[in-house]
Structures are given as structure tokens and as C-alpha cells.
């Protein structure tokens, strides 16, 4: 039998490395401040001409970006922040009420799916309160919203609930998602996929979940994908809109494994 010699890298080495990664991650803000899109250049290798060309292209359409901590929750946090930010800025009561009813319906769905209501409510109530406060004008500015997103009592609960909300949507619309799950993962049921890949905190999400998140919340999202790879000769920024062909209201920058928020010019 072949055995890999593991003596050189023990479990304690592994744990130490994991801790180092975690502490590096924790030094970046959960939701950062807005920055000029020009500063994006430093986030990539300045000598990589292809990437810099793609950034030139982004700069034509976007003026500002906002970082989100890369702890595996970045997509969900960026998404939720963008949705709430729009509610704060536009004070659109119809949209606010719609999002609140999405939350309420998802709680009912989860309870019907057999999830424990009392424990879910710990997370649900924090997000529901946040959206209520936006509706009542108690959270008046984006700065105040940002404060709430980093508050220890709020920051995890709201992300946690979003994960369950998306899970409920995917399980109830299993017919739509199961072909992707079967085709791209080892899971054979929606339940196992959602429990393993989605519901746990810090799990990075894949494209299926990104798509389901937009569908579950009735939000249109545009992703601008900028990586160091040369996809084809045109070297353009790859753009994906969820749902396809819709008019996006929120925008994100996607680098492999990470999402940040973009703001249109």
C-alpha cells in the first residue's frame, strides 16, 4: 500500500496555517469603505497588462468599489449589503416590503421543511429587525448601515439567515437546480447539497447558489469577472447577469473565489 509520508506536515501544522489564514482574513474589514475604482489597480498585479486592460474597461462603467471580507461569506454579505443599501438610499417602500415578505415566507418554508423554528428565529429576527429599521427610517444613511453590518450582534446572524433563505428556495425549486447539482457536484439530492455546501457559515458559494440567491430575492445582479486569465483574444471583462437578460440593480466584481461591490458611474 502506498502511504504518503505525512511526518513533515502534521495536523498541528495544518491548524497553525489555518489560524494564520484566519487572522490575516480578520484583519480586513467585514464591509469596507467606498474607494475610487482606480485603487483596484493595486489589488491586482500592476505588471499584468491583460488585467490592467480589463480594469481600464471597468473604469469606464464604474466609479467606486467597496471591499467585503474574503471569509467565504463574501458573496452573501456583498449581496445583502447591496440590497439593503438600495433600500436605504431609494427609500422605496414597495421594495422594502417585498424583501421583508421574502424573509417572512422563507421562514414559513423552512419550518414546513422541518427546520427548528426557535433556533432559526435567532437569525431571522436580527435580519427582519434590520430591514424593519430601514423601512422605518431608523437607519438613515449607508454609514449607519455599514455600522450594523459589522456589529457583533448582527454581522453573522444576517448572513446565516440568508444562507437558510437561499437553501429553502433551492429545495422548493429543486427541479430547476438538481440538474446542475448532479452535473457539477458529488451530491445526489438538493437536501444534501444545501446542507453541505450552503447552510454552514464561511462556505464559498458557486454559480448555482449565486443564481438562486438572485431568484429567491427577486434581485437582478451583474457580475464583472476580472481574473488574470486570458479567456480569448478579445481580452474583455466577462460579464454575467442573473437572471439572464435582466436589468441589473446591483453590481459586483468577481475575482476567482472572491466578490466585492461595484458602483456604476
Amino acid at each position: 500500500m502506498d502511504h504518503v509520508d505525512s511526518s513533515s506536515f502534521s495536523m498541528s501544522d495544518y491548524e497553525r496555517q489555518q489560524e494564520e489564514i484566519e487572522s490575516e482574513t480578520k484583519s480586513s474589514p467585514i464591509v469596507g469603505d467606498k474607494q475610487s475604482i482606480e485603487s483596484l489597480r493595486q489589488a491586482y498585479n500592476p505588471d499584468n497588462e491583460q488585467v490592467q486592460k480589463k480594469i481600464n474597461e471597468l473604469i469606464q462603467n464604474y466609479s467606486v468599489w467597496r471591499t467585503v471580507r474574503g471569509d467565504g461569506n463574501c458573496f452573501i454579505r456583498a449581496f445583502l449589503f447591496s440590497v439593503c443599501e438600495e433600500l436605504v438610499l431609494k427609500k422605496d417602500t414597495t421594495k422594502q416590503k417585498h424583501f421583508q415578505s421574502v424573509l417572512k415566507n422563507s421562514l414559513e418554508s423552512l419550518v414546513n421543511l422541518g427546520y427548528p423554528e426557535m433556533l432559526l428565529d435567532d437569525f431571522y429576527s436580527v435580519l427582519d429587525d434590520l430591514v424593519t429599521e430601514i423601512g422605518e427610517g431608523k437607519i438613515k444613511s449607508v454609514d449607519e448601515l455599514q455600522q450594523r453590518f459589522v456589529d457583533p450582534d448582527t454581522k453573522d446572524a444576517i448572513i446565516c439567515y440568508m444562507r437558510f433563505l437561499i437553501s429553502a428556495y433551492m429545495q422548493l425549486n429543486g427541479d430547476e437546480y438538481i440538474p446542475y447539482v448532479l452535473g457539477t457536484t458529488d451530491h445526489v439530492t438538493m437536501d444534501s447539497y444545501c446542507k453541505t455546501e450552503l447552510e454552514g457559515m464561511y462556505k464559498e458559494v458557486d454559480n448555482i447558489i449565486v443564481s438562486a440567491t438572485c431568484a429567491a430575492c427577486g434581485v437582478s445582479l451583474r457580475l464583472e469577472c476580472v481574473d488574470a486569465q486570458n479567456r480569448d483574444s478579445t481580452q474583455q471583462v466577462q460579464t454575467i447577469t442573473f437572471p439572464d437578460q435582466s436589468e441589473p440593480t446591483i453590481f459586483m466584481l468577481y475575482r476567482p473565489g472572491h466578490y466585492d461591490i461595484l458602483y456604476k458611474r
Binding site: P116, D122, P152, T196, E199
Partner: protein, 158 residues
Amino acid sequence: MSTPCKRRLLRDFKKMKTDPPQGISASPLNDNIMQWNAVIFGPDETPWEGGTFKLTITFTEEYPNKPPKVVFNTKMFHPNIYNDGGICLDILQNQWSPIYDVSAILASIQSLLTDPNPNSPANSEASRLYQENRKLYEKKVKEMVEKSWEEEEENADE
């Protein structure tokens, strides 16, 4: 301690006091709510019947975002339990979800006792016997159950 973690642990405590799963008890140490002692009683009409198995549950500030660490203090003979008491159980690792509480964790471990997962062996001998010689496996388990009584008596003498 972060408020969500503390709030949740107090709720877990209340649930274990008022509505514990059958054959399970758990409670935090007097001076430290992050550290719990638990006892799982072996389910009736199984080789584990009569056993009292002690565990320690250690929480971090990140509970319930991250699972607690759960180890058996009683010596065990089980395909998914390591010699040092560590437990190989999906919900304590990659299938952890913030809606599992102390009650759900211990109930899962209790059902793992009688329903091992031979695909992820932590004790190769137990795993092999479980698959190849169930009679001998059950005999070993029963020996372990009797030992758990001896441990109990030793502790009582102290």
C-alpha cells in the same frame, strides 16, 4: 464573550434542562459556560445498553457559526470514535450548521453509537469487526460498557 454565543448557550442550557432527548444529559461547568459535561446512556436493546458514556463539549466564541469540539472521556470501541475520544461525525465537521444545538449534537452522537458509518473509520479494528465479525464486535462493545461502570465506581470512590 460575544452576545450571540452567550445567548445561544443559555438557550441550549434551558432546553437541556426542560426538554432533554431521551438518555442524554448535559450541563455547563459551574464557572464556565463554554465548557460542558455530558452523559449519553447506551440505547436499550442494543449492545450499548446500560453504558454511561461521558463527554466533554468545548465551545468557542464562534459558536454557533462553528461547531464545538466534542470528545468522549469514557473509553469507547466504535468505528467512528478515535482512541483519544475524538468523534468522526459529519455534523461536527463539514456538515455543521448553526441550527444544531447541544441537544441535536448529542442526539446525533447517540444515534451514531448504534448506527456507525463504516466509510469513515476512526478506529480500524472496530470498523473491521463491525463489518466482518458482528458478534465479536458486539462482545467488545459490551466489554466496553462494563468498563464504563468500573470507571463510574472509581470516580465515585474518589
